[in-house]
Structure formats: C-alpha cells, structure tokens
Symmetry: none
Subunit: 69 residues, 2 copies
C-alpha cells in the first residue's frame, strides 16, 4: 500500500510554485480528483510530496515516437 505516514506534505502554495500555476488551480485539481489531497481539521488542503514529484517528473519530450508523414 502507499499509505505511509511520515510522508512530507506540501501546501497549495508550494505545489502551485512547482507547477507554475495559481494556488487556486491546485485547489481545483484536488476538487476534480486529479491530485490526492488531505484536509486539515480546519479545512485546508495538503498534498503528498511524492505524488507531486511524480506528476512533475512526467516531462514530455513528445518527439520520442516515430516520425511519420
């Protein structure tokens, strides 16, 4: 299972910085279920660093595929 405590959590602002987007956008991702999120008792969201890093590492050099014409 992937449920490990001790996982570092990131704030919406930190995630937003990594993706170069607005913090509100990160919130929308969570609402849309595109990214997992944890809620503080006060209702604020926290994100798993490992999941964020995984999403970031999907750097696409989309030229790897065959050139057809």
């Amino acid at each position: 299972m992937t449920a490990h405590a001790g996982e570092r959590l990131l704030t919406p602002g930190e995630v937003a910085n990594l993706f170069r987007v607005d913090p509100k956008t990160v919130t929308r991702w969570a609402t849309a279920g595109r990214i997992g999120s944890i809620r503080t008792p006060g209702g604020h969201r926290r994100f798993r660093e490992s999941e964020v890093q995984e999403l970031l590492s999907q750097l696409t050099t989309e030229a790897t595929e065959p050139v057809r014409h």
Copy 2:
C-alpha cells in the same frame, strides 16, 4: 536523467514572448519534440526556463562559430 524538478517553469505565452512568435507556434514546437514540456494535471504545458534560455542562445549563435571560454 532529465527528470529533475526544482526548475523554474515558463508558460507558453512567456516562451512565445521570448521568441517573438505566436503561442500556437510554441505548442507546435512541443508537439514536434523540438522543446521539452511538462504538463499540468489540466493538460496545459509548462516549459523549463533553462532549456528555453539555451534555445534562445542558440538563436544568437546560429551560423557562427561556437562560443569557447
């Protein structure tokens, strides 16, 4: 490999401004694999600033002898 975050990212519009081209053209570059890109969970592209700067410097040194130091 190239999979390292902690890199400043640029939006398609910003890259387009740097190159003085239409954002659509930047998209085509990404599709053609001429420039690497990271996708937000929403599908929008982000570009690595270092790579963009490198491409820009290639423009100024085009058809010229390599810069040695």
